[in-house]
């Protein structure tokens, strides 16, 4: 068992349960101590494989999955996941290779919006996002350049 096996376990646990595994869950799965699991969590956090709440061993994000409720809900495979952001709400069906219904909220204007992922395409109310302009008004804003994404991941 190496740290990447733990990374894979964390992602599979999220996919199966919609929650992040605790160090106890991971220790039990790999038959290691909670302290060993904690050291591996710290190393994987350092390597940006997933992200811990500051000064804790609690997983906050394993992108695209969020361990805490957000405005980006993804219904897929009979489960409801929370995504970290507007990009990650699309990242969950992309990672799981499945259809999904996404309930999100527009920032600033505050209205709800529902999107559908079906057979690899994205649509809203039957209108496909397409090169000919479908859904072209619906925008995702990336506030920081890529080089600064990891400065403050919650803000990003």
């Amino acid at each position: 068992m190496d740290i990447w096996d733990v990374r894979a376990f964390v992602y599979r646990y999220f996919a199966d349960t919609t929650r992040a595994p605790s160090t106890e869950d991971t220790a039990r799965h790999f038959n290691i101590s909670k302290e060993e699991a904690g050291k591996i969590y710290t190393e994987l956090n350092h390597r940006h494989a997933f992200f811990l709440e500051p000064e804790t061993l609690t997983i906050r994000m394993a992108n695209p999955f969020s361990a805490i409720p957000t405005d980006f809900k993804v219904h897929a495979n009979g489960k409801t996941y929370f995504a970290n952001c507007a990009w990650d709400m699309l990242g969950i069906p992309a990672a799981l290779h499945c259809d999904a219904t996404i309930d999100a909220v527009f920032t600033e204007s505050n209205g709800p919006v529902q999107l559908e992922i079906r057979d690899g395409q994205i649509a809203q109310g039957g209108v496909l996002a397409a090169e000919d302009g479908g859904l072209s008004d619906m925008l995702v804003h990336f506030p920081l350049p890529f080089s600064r994404w990891y400065d403050d991941l919650v803000f990003t």
Binding site: A8, A15, A49, C85, L90, G91, T107, E108, L135, S136
Partner: protein
Amino acid sequence: MLLFRSEEWIDKWCKRNNLARGEMLTIGRVWELSKLWYGNRMSVEFHGRSSEQVAEVFRQVGLQSCFWLMGT
């Protein structure tokens, strides 16, 4: 990254938060980016990406401005 109904709402949000506008992508383009960025995320073989691999993903969806470069 937040979702907006239109460009006008991005400008309002940036102004209210005293932030410069970053880059905005249509939802369709973000979906194409998501498939490339996250498509192999569940694989046990995924150990992260090199800067060259990141640049290649961005290039495939036409994101080649300095905003998308590492170390800018």
